[in-house]
């Protein structure tokens, strides 16, 4: 089917400006295939159903708009004792990174992957599966063009988290990273991500969790004010497995986080949560979540909280799809915004699609302001207005932060939020 002309033109322009990188045969095959799929789908346009609220043109454009480099401190998660991998302007920096070795874990660079690499079965495969029923062409473009990223295979209970630290030195870095994680049967690993990666960043993270495996993911997205990014997480999880992902976003002009989870084995758990705070009328933050239940007795949660002020826009598009036969599904979805003034906006599209009869699914979406009553109560106890507002704002975000399993990591993020609120209140 022919694409609409504006979409075709934008797609032609972008694809004409990118190269399919070289690599082992499997990577080349996956990339070529992804390029073909991207061309066939066309890159996203505001008229596409899942881009109604967020304009993708800056993500589609041939050139990335420059973004000032923020002197981002690297301290977050430093107490976690993580094995740290550093990417500077999207390129793995071996000197700044720890050795790619650890107990119960295999780590390699996408750029170094050889012909016979375990990732060949996964690279682009979960992304491809995640294209139905909703197309995600930016993810296919990522598969086609990513040159770097990390390939992690957990074979045991990996005590030490793996932390990806992104740094930038250039104000126009246009970065594409593609990570593949495979958690083997009964294995367990935690992935952390933090730092400012690029002026424009595209990441795809494909996560396969085998039966009984556990994957925990906690990330903080670059705090640089002008950056634009889209991330895709594609997960496929097996029986009695656990997948938990939490994202904290502060600042940025445009952030679009897609998360597509397919629950394929019985009694599995998938939780995705996020907290975002945005200040200013050029802030758009979009979480688009799609969880498919295709097994019995599984639990999924989507918990998203956004604090918006001075014209900031928050978007949540979340779906729980319960396939026929996915009985005893327990699905929960909540998206809430705290609008700190009348200029900010929260746009939500919560969806439930259920084809099984014995399920318990609930969803809710709300927008609200700081409670005057609570604010006065705090002030009457001597807490200054600004501090009281921040306390209530953190309280609003608390439910999302509680989704983080590890208390120390949650505290790190809470401190970061408190710092942001201190700087931005008023």
């Amino acid at each position: 089917m022919a694409l609409p002309k504006p979409k075709q033109d934008a797609t032609d322009a972008r694809l004409g400006a990118v190269n399919v990188p070289d690599g082992p045969a499997w990577a080349r095959a996956a990339r070529t295939d992804a390029m073909d799929r991207t061309a066939a789908m066309g890159l996203p346009h505001r008229r596409d159903e899942y881009w109604k609220f967020t304009d993708p043109s800056a993500l589609v454009a041939v050139d990335a708009a420059p973004a000032d480099v923020l002197d981002d401190d690297d301290a977050l998660f430093s107490g976690s004792g993580a094995l740290t991998l550093v990417f500077v302007d999207g390129v793995f920096d071996a000197d700044a990174s720890d050795d790619l070795a650890g107990e119960g874990i295999e780590i390699s660079r996408l750029a170094d992957a050889q012909d016979l690499h375990w990732a060949r079965d996964l690279y682009g495969a979960l992304e491809t599966a995640g294209q139905t029923p909703v197309e995600r062409p930016l993810a296919a473009l990522n598969t086609a063009t990513a040159t770097d990223g990390v390939l992690i295979r957990a074979t045991g209970n990996v005590a030490r988290p793996v932390c990806l630290r992104y740094r930038r030195s250039s104000d126009d870095a246009d970065v594409v990273l593609h990570h593949v994680i495979r958690v083997e049967t009964g294995a367990q690993v935690t992935l952390l991500e933090t730092g400012s990666a690029a002026a424009r960043l595209s990441t795809v993270t494909e996560v396969s969790v085998a039966d009984g495996g556990t994957f925990h993911h906690v990330r903080q997205q670059g705090r640089d004010h002008q950056r634009r990014m889209n991330t895709h997480t594609f997960a496929r999880i097996g029986a009695e497995s656990t997948f938990k992902s939490f994202t904290l976003s502060l600042n940025g002009i445009l952030t679009r986080n897609d998360c597509v989870i397919e629950i394929l084995g019985d009694d599995a758990i998938a939780h995705v949560a996020g907290a975002c705070v945005g200040d200013g009328d050029n802030f758009v933050h979009d979480d688009t979540i799609f969880i498919t239940h295709d097994a019995v007795g599984c639990e999924s949660r989507q918990v998203f909280k956004k604090v918006l002020r001075n014209g900031a826009v928050g978007v949540f598009q979340g779906k729980i799809l319960v396939k026929q036969g996915a009985q005893k599904t327990d699905g929960y979805q909540i998206s809430q915004s705290l609008l700190l003034d009348g200029d900010s906006q929260f746009l939500a599209k919560p969806e439930l699609e259920i084809y099984a009869d014995d399920v318990a699914c609930s969803h809710g979406s709300t927008s609200g302001a700081i409670s005057d009553e609570a604010l006065f109560y705090l002030r009457s106890r001597g807490v200054p207005e600004k501090q009281a507002t921040n306390l209530l704002t953190l309280a609003f975000l608390a439910e999302a932060l509680e989704e983080i399993e590890d208390d120390a990591l949650a505290d790190d993020l809470r401190d970061r939020l408190a710092g942001w609120l201190d700087r931005h209140a008023g």
Binding site: S380, R381, V383, L392
Partner: protein, 251 residues
Amino acid sequence: MLNIKGLKVDLEEEDKSILKGVDLEVNAGEVHAIMGPNGSGKSTLSYVLSGKDGYKVMGGTATLDGADLLDMEPEERAAAGLFLAFQYPVEIPGVGNMTFLRTAVNAQRKARGQDELTAGEFLKEVRARAKDLKIDAEMLKRPVNVGFSGGEKKRNEILQMAMLEPKMCILDETDSGLDVDAMKLVADGVNALRSEGRAFLVITHYQRLLDHIKPDVVHIMSNGRIIKSGGPELALEVENNGYADLLAEAD
């Protein structure tokens, strides 16, 4: 200590006058009680004194030790030593009671130029005060007032008062919703705080609380005015005869 002269207050949203010229003077070391029919303006007075939005001061003054209360932000009034135990304490989901108390104590200390309490100092203090009020550790951990019973909320107000050590304490129907034993606890809490330098304004409908907390002066408020003031016997008169005679007398 607290000096209110000719205080007139309207609602901000609608042209409705609630306080129609309140005069009241409470000296350090004294306990005053305010009684009066429902809707007479008792809570409004307490809110206006503590700085709640939604009211327009149309005339009169209110000072605390000479400082103009009406000109201050609510937090400044608190730091100046004013405390209101709310008739309806507010629930704050997501904010732990401990965090709330510690934030409040330290904010006031900071405003007064004192060092903040360390976590250890604070904990010791709060545990001792909570024990006196039979507030258990679990209640301290829960979000502020969330899921507290009516009586627990009122005891929590007194705990805050004990921690903040204000000099002018206004208690708005702190006795309502309390069982007999809790009433005694709260009264003991208040009495323990009674001192030369501190004053209380106790809003209540019942004589019972005043059996425990002996007032120096009792005021009757009706339709936005103090219509009569007297000794403790005035409260007994209300208890026995209601307000009808007092109101008729005032007219």
